[in-house]
Structures are given as structure tokens and as C-alpha cells.
């Protein structure tokens, strides 16, 4: 579904990503692991058009590298960014509305909002509150719901469990599986390697901007590198 070949990203003098290759199979959960600054977010930024990459990115057989972010989402890729980044002074309703505004109008848009409220009942309770007043977990749900408003076929999630209580983290991982079961392909960036590999069909490990390891979730969970670096033994 998504094929990335020889991808590099530079920010000025800094080379954030060097020659990355990866592929995401339709209907799978693919995990990107790595420590801070390993190039995970740069990869997602390149896919969504926020960063200007060198190399080749193909989505459903069409090249999308160099396409503007506004157009990438129209092709069926949505990003739920790191740190949630909901619009704090806008209401939950307005956040959701903006997430779907260019993809549906009128009743179709209202139906999408309704579908997300059914998926995240807590957002119905908070519907008219400012997003900035929501708890971290609620904001994460809102950020995911907002990304889903574009009805993506590929959903990119950047550290969705970061800074959340263990119980909420469970909810997030359950949600990812249920989204996959509904046919949405997932590319997940995570620091929580153990949990991520449990649900991953395939994983890639980045270190200092280069891919150092790849395999199925199970293979990675058993690899020495992962055990030493991320799973503490």
C-alpha cells in the first residue's frame, strides 16, 4: 500500500533521515521504533508532505513525495501528530468539523461526526467544550477522531500513548486494533516498544536516521537489539 524507497530528510545541516526503505501492507499494523531523534517523526513528516524529502514515496501505486500536505490527506493518508496538537481554543465540535470539512459537507459531514462520537462517547460529553480544557487522554481521542474524520485508508499515528495513564494507553492500543479490523491500515510510531510490538504485523527500528532492523513484530520482540535497547532485558 505504501512503499518508501531511499528516503532522506535534511533540516538545514542536519540529516534527520538517510536512505530509509520501508513498506506498509494493506490492512496491517506497521510499527516504527527508535529513540528520540532517530528519524521517526521525520519519516511521518516526509510521508505527509510537511518535510521536503529526497527519495521516493508511493501510495497505492502513485508517487506522493513532494506533494503538499493539503493534497496528501485527500489521497487517503491522515496523520495524528505527536503531542496531539488539537486546536485548544476551538471546541471539540469545531476540531472534528475541521478534520472532515474538505472531505464531506452538510449531512455527510454530520454523519461522520456522529460516527466518531459513537466511537468515542467521551467526546459527545465534551462536545461543546474547548479542546484545550480536555484531559490528555481525551485530547488524544479527539486528535485520533479528528484524523479519522477524513476517512483515511492509511492512518499515521505519532506516539499516541505518550504521556498517558496506563489505562488510557490500553484504550489507545485496543483502538488501534479495532481500526485495523475495520480495514484502516496503520503506521504507528512508538516509544513504548513492548506494547507496540505486541500488536505489530511488521516493525522497523531506526537509529540516528538509519534503519537498523526490520522484521515481524514477533521477530523484533525476540531480537537482541530490541531486548537490550527497549525492553530492558
Amino acid at each position: 500500500m505504501l512503499t518508501v524507497t531511499d528516503l532522506s530528510v535534511r533540516y538545514g545541516q542536519i540529516e534527520a533521515l538517510r536512505g530509509l526503505g520501508l513498506s506498509v501492507t494493506k490492512g496491517s499494523v506497521t510499527v516504527l521504533l527508535g529513540s528520540n531523534g532517530a528519524g521517526k517523526s521525520s519519516t511521518l513528516n516526509a510521508i505527509t508532505g510537511l518535510a521536503q524529502p529526497r527519495g521516493r514515496i508511493e501510495f497505492e501505486g502513485v508517487r506522493i513525495d513532494g506533494v503538499a500536505p493539503e493534497d496528501i490527506v485527500r489521497k487517503g493518508i491522515a496523520l495524528c501528530p505527536e503531542g496531539r496538537r488539537v486546536f485548544p481554543s476551538l471546541s471539540v465540535a469545531e476540531n472534528l468539523h475541521l478534520g472532515g470539512a474538505v472531505h464531506a459537507r452538510g449531512e455527510a459531514l454530520a454523519a461522520r461526526v456522529e460516527a466518531e462520537l459513537a466511537r468515542f462517547p467521551i467526546l459527545r460529553e465534551r462536545f461543546h467544550q474547548k479542546a484545550g480544557l480536555l484531559s490528555g487522554g481525551e485530547q488524544q481521542m479527539l486528535a485520533i477522531a479528528r484524523a479519522l474524520m477524513s476517512a483515511p485508508r492509511l492512518l499515521l499515528l505519532d506516539e499516541p500513548s505518550l504521556g498517558l495513564a496506563p489505562k488510557v494507553v490500553d484504550q489507545v492500543f485496543d483502538l488501534i486494533l479495532s481500526l485495523r479490523d475495520q480495514g484502516i491500515t496503520i503506521l504507528l510510531v512508538e516509544q513504548n516498544a513492548e506494547r507496540a510490538l505486541e500488536i505489530a504485523d511488521r516493525g522497523y527500528v531506526l537509529q540516528s536516521g538509519e534503519m537498523v532492523l526490520s522484521g515481524t513484530g514477533k521477530e523484533l520482540a525476540e531480537s537482541d537489539l530490541i531486548r537490550q535497547a527497549y525492553l530492558a532485558g
Binding site: 505527509t48 510537511l50 503538499a68 500536505p69 493539503e70 493534497d71 490527506v73 485527500r74 491522515a78 496523520l79 501528530p81 496538537r85 486546536f87 485548544p88 481554543s89 476551538l90 469545531e94 468539523h97 475541521l98 478534520g99 470539512a101 474538505v102 472531505h103 484545550g132 479528528r146 474524520m149 477524513s150
Partner: protein, 296 residues
Amino acid sequence: MMDIILQQVLNAISLGGIYALLALGLAVVFSIVGLINFAHGELMTVAGYVLFLGVLFALPLPFAVLLAIGAAALAAVLTERLAFRPMRKADATSLLLTSFAVSAILRVLFQNGISARPKPVPLPSALSGTVNLGPVHLGAVPLASIVVTVLSLVTLNLFLKRTTMGQAMRAAAEDFQVLRLMGIKANRVIAVAFGLSGALAGISAVLWVAQRGSVDPLMGFIPVLKAFVAAVIGGLGSLPGAVAGGFVLGISEVLFQAFLPEAALPFRDAFVLSVVIAILIWRPEGLIPAKTARRS
């Protein structure tokens, strides 16, 4: 006596309203692209001259007014397209210098293309008279100006709250990157922000000209300088702040003008600026600070 006090209060609110509309125009653009547009005054001037031409060619007044406001909006969109968009990736200082350049170019065009001297804009006598509310006689222009200001603020608020583009503009002020991820075109949001800011400058210009009766190439300079002060005391980039700042500044100017002892009148601006300084000491971020005032 009652008449005079009421009239001064009315003048104060009407001047405050004009500053508020101008400061809003500056804030709308600043909140989204981080540009302090010093060419905002020239947008006023554009509207002023279009109004002058409309009156000269004896167009119906409402039509001439709409034409003037539309011209300022169009001019704002054009300056964005021609001058500011190519500089989109540049730093704040370069953007500021670009706006000085746009301002200077437009001013020279007015001076050489039209006239360096003020042109009278005669308005219908209905506007120059007074309105009698029982025993009280009030100027028609300040009254009309307050009505227009209130209508503009209400309309703008509805636009920002109820329409997708309005919501997108508020979102853009907070996190432009994420807004683009939602598929909303950055260029369109920015163009609408400039258009809106131009329309606000146009409305202010019409009110300004209605009170003064003439236009000249420099007419926008002073009011926009004041509006900039208003935007700063309100909290730069904050829309409610711009409105609050505009009213505070306009009201203090008129009240000092009206009620200072005659010997102190030459120092009116010093008194007004003392108020400004006091506000900034009390609230360095402005009366109603912006949530995020960073550039996209």
C-alpha cells in the same frame, strides 16, 4: 451640558470603534502569518480614494461605500499575492520590511497618480446633521459609525464561529501545520485573512472619511499607527484583544481631549501614552493575550 457629555462619550466610542476595526485587521493577519502589516494604512487610503471617485461620479452612496470596502479587500489580497506570498518563508523582519516597501510604493502611487493634496469627499447632508433624541442632539456621523462598528464586529464574530473558513482561520492562528494536515489550503486561508483585513480597513476608512470629509495620500498613516498601539495593548495577535485595545485607546484620546484643562491639552498624547504604558506594565502580554503568537 448633558448634550456635551453624551456627545463626547459618543465620539469616544466611535473613535474607539474605528481603532478597533483597524487593530482587528492587523491582528487577523498577524495571528495567521506573523506579519505586522504596515501597508494596512494604505489599504485605508485605497478605500478613501475609491469612495472619493464614487462620490465624484455621483454613484449612489451605499454602492460607493461597498465599492470602497471591496477595493480595499481586493488591494489587500493583491498585496498578499504579489508581495507577501513570495516572502512566505522569510523571517519576521523581512516580512516587516516588505510591508514598509508595499506601503511606500502605494503612497507614491497615490501622490503621483492622484494628488499630493487632500481631495474633498462631500457626503450627503443627512450625515452631517444631528439626530434628535428627545432633548438631546447627537452627531449623525458618530452614531452611524458606532452602528457600523457594532454590525461589523457581530458579523465578523459570526463568520469566525459559524463558517468553516472562520473556524479554519482561528485554527490557523493556533497551529497552521495541523490545519494543512486536515486538507485545508494554506494559501486560501491566508488570502481570506488578507481580504478580511482589507475589508476591515475599508470600513474604517469610510468611517474616517465621513468624519473628516477629505482624503489624502497619507490619511492611513496616523490611524494605523494608533491601531498598532491598540493591537499591542490588547495583546498582539489576539482578536478580542485588538477590539479591547482599540476602544481603550480611542476612548482615552477623546476623553482626555474633552476634559483635560486647556493648559494640558497640548500634552494630550502624552497622557494617552501614559495610559498605554500603565496597561503594559500591568499586563505585559496585553489585555487579552493571544493563545499562540508564533509564525507558521
